[in-house]
């Protein structure tokens, strides 16, 4: 269902006119001073306009608030990851070596990993991180988590399958959208 560019442009412009100010107001109320509401509003509008067939959206405002909420969750999480990462580096006294660029890239990576691991039981994702990030052997992980090392192997396999499904489900979806 390809639309001609001009039609899409007109729809997009109408959509923007109709909802942008409202979304901005909604975010301002929700966010107080934690984030710049107008940035999130702008990002949400762009996301919806570029990635969705606007004509088919049934409840645009509900759709926009959901999109904006997702963006905020992402921002909050990235901020938390950044704080924790920088702090951990500082703890290891390597802060001087870490450039802002490194931090920015690291936060993106960490965010990807968190998305991969979300929803897994704690022991499962911890076993996975100990193995894949720290390079610990099953037996060492087993000792730390207090389960057998054959269990650790199962945990890691389970975490990997979960990660695979998350990573490649995204791929399928994004390839659909960009068409």
């Amino acid at each position: 269902m390809q639309q001609t560019p001009s039609l899409h442009q007109r729809l997009a412009s109408d959509f923007y006119q109709a909802h942008h100010a409202w979304l901005n107001g909604w975010l301002r109320k929700k966010l107080s001073c934690v984030f710049d509401a107008s940035d999130v509003a702008q990002d949400a509008m762009i996301k919806v306009i570029y990635h969705q067939d606007i004509a088919t959206i049934q409840e645009p405002r509900a759709y926009l608030t959901t999109t904006a909420t997702r963006l905020i969750i992402d921002l909050v999480r990235k901020r938390n990851l950044e704080a924790a990462y920088v702090d951990a580096l500082r703890y290891q006294q390597e802060a001087l070596a870490a450039s802002p660029d490194h931090i920015r890239e690291a936060v993106e990576t960490l965010n990807q990993i968190v998305k991969m691991l979300e929803g897994l039981p704690e022991k499962v994702y911890r076993a996975f991180l100990m193995n894949k990030l720290e390079g610990l052997a099953y037996i060492e992980i087993a000792e730390q988590l207090g389960v057998s090392s054959s269990m650790i192997k199962q945990y890691i396999a389970r975490a990997m399958l979960h990660c695979y499904q998350v990573v490649y489900a995204d791929d399928v979806e994004s390839s659909k959208i960009s068409r």
Binding site: D39, I72, A84, Y85, Y164, V167, Y168
Partner: protein, 335 residues
């Protein structure tokens, strides 16, 4: 992306994962290697699946492993705590909840959980440091000690500390919070981390207080600069990531009343007093700031029994004090 490529049957993915784990252990037998090669060559899908499994770990190489693990752990744990419901997707999280997290969570939460020194709500504890300095921790406080050859650094994540510094000309003594730091040029001072600011007050000698523009701030909000001020006894300043407040004159005994189990107020608005008492209270104090703003409090209250302290305030200012649900105390003006 090739559509066939994205639809690898789950059993093949599982096999690929099993092989990945098998092949990446310390001792791999030659026969296992042969079997693995055979599996790989059996089917193009096998190769695709294996390639995909391997490439999932590419991002891992670009982060500091230890720091990454610690931060992922912290964030996942914190998010898990928030949603006790299982498999709650991101979208289902309420906004109010989220904002609360980010405020409570910034720098502190990360470390509060892992801090070596902690006090519970209502608890006061004294810690002797290796250099003979002494820290008294007020209620609900967490800090780590990071001493090295160059400096004596205390990382205060939340709460309030009274610090008595032993002299060491070669190693400055620093208390650092998410808002800035206080450098002891002399002996006794108090540092209190609040949500948006950190208060630094001096009891004896001199302290240099500096704010720290936060690297956590979004780029759009930045532009804040670091500033410092030297404080003398009975002076207090509030520092935030943006700026330093003007210097307030506060009696040292009022700043340190908690050391002897009392809170001392000098003409403070009641909502400020209640917010301060809340720090010591396991009960939630429920009140409307607007309704109580006009009442000013001067006096000494015990912080060991908050419900009692509230009832004293209630009698004195003719308030309606009501305990609800076991863990809340409602405070309203008398009708």
């Amino acid at each position: 992306m090739n559509p066939a490529f994205s639809q690898i049957p789950q059993n093949i993915v599982e096999q690929a994962i099993a092989w990945h784990l098998q092949i990446n252990t310390a001792e791999v037998k030659a026969s296992e290697r042969v079997a693995f090669e055979a599996w790989l060559n059996q089917d193009a899908l096998h190769q695709n699946a294996y390639q995909r499994v391997e490439s999932m770990f590419e991002p891992f190489e670009y982060v500091d492993a230890k720091a990454a693990k610690r931060s992922i752990d912290v964030v996942l744990k914190a998010e898990r705590k928030l949603n006790t419901r299982k498999n709650l997707s991101g979208i289902a999280l309420g906004l109010t909840l989220l904002v609360a997290v980010s405020v409570a969570f910034q720098m502190p939460m990360t470390n509060v959980m892992l801090a070596d020194n902690k006090t519970a709500v209502g608890e006061i504890k004294t810690i002797d440091l290796p250099d003979n300095s002494r820290i008294v921790m007020n209620t609900n406080t967490a800090f780590d000690v990071a001493f090295d050859g160059k400096q004596r650094l205390i990382k205060l994540y939340k709460g309030e500390v009274f610090v008595e510094v032993s002299k060491d000309a070669n190693r400055p003594f620093l208390v650092e919070t998410k808002h800035g730091d206080a450098r002891a040029l002399g002996t006794q001072f108090v540092v209190n981390v609040e949500s948006e600011t950190t208060a630094v007050g001096v009891v004896e000698s001199k302290v240099e207080a500096c704010n720290a523009p936060s690297y956590l701030q979004l780029e759009t909000l930045s532009g804040a600069q670091r500033a410092c001020i030297t404080l003398h006894p009975n002076q207090r300043v509030k520092i935030s990531n943006q700026s330093l407040s003007s210097v307030q004159s506060v009696d040292a005994s009022a700043m340190t009343g908690w050391l002897s189990g009392t809170a001392i107020y000098d003409n403070q608005p009641l909502p400020v007093v209640l917010a301060d008492l809340q720090r010591y209270s396991k009960n939630q104090l429920v009140f409307s700031s607007a309704a109580l703003q006009h009442i000013n409090v001067s006096g000494v209250l015990s912080i060991n029994d908050i419900p009692h302290a509230i009832s004293i305030l209630g009698d004195q200012f003719n308030l309606q004090v009501e305990a609800v649900n076991d863990n809340e105390i409602k405070i309203n003006p008398q009708n």
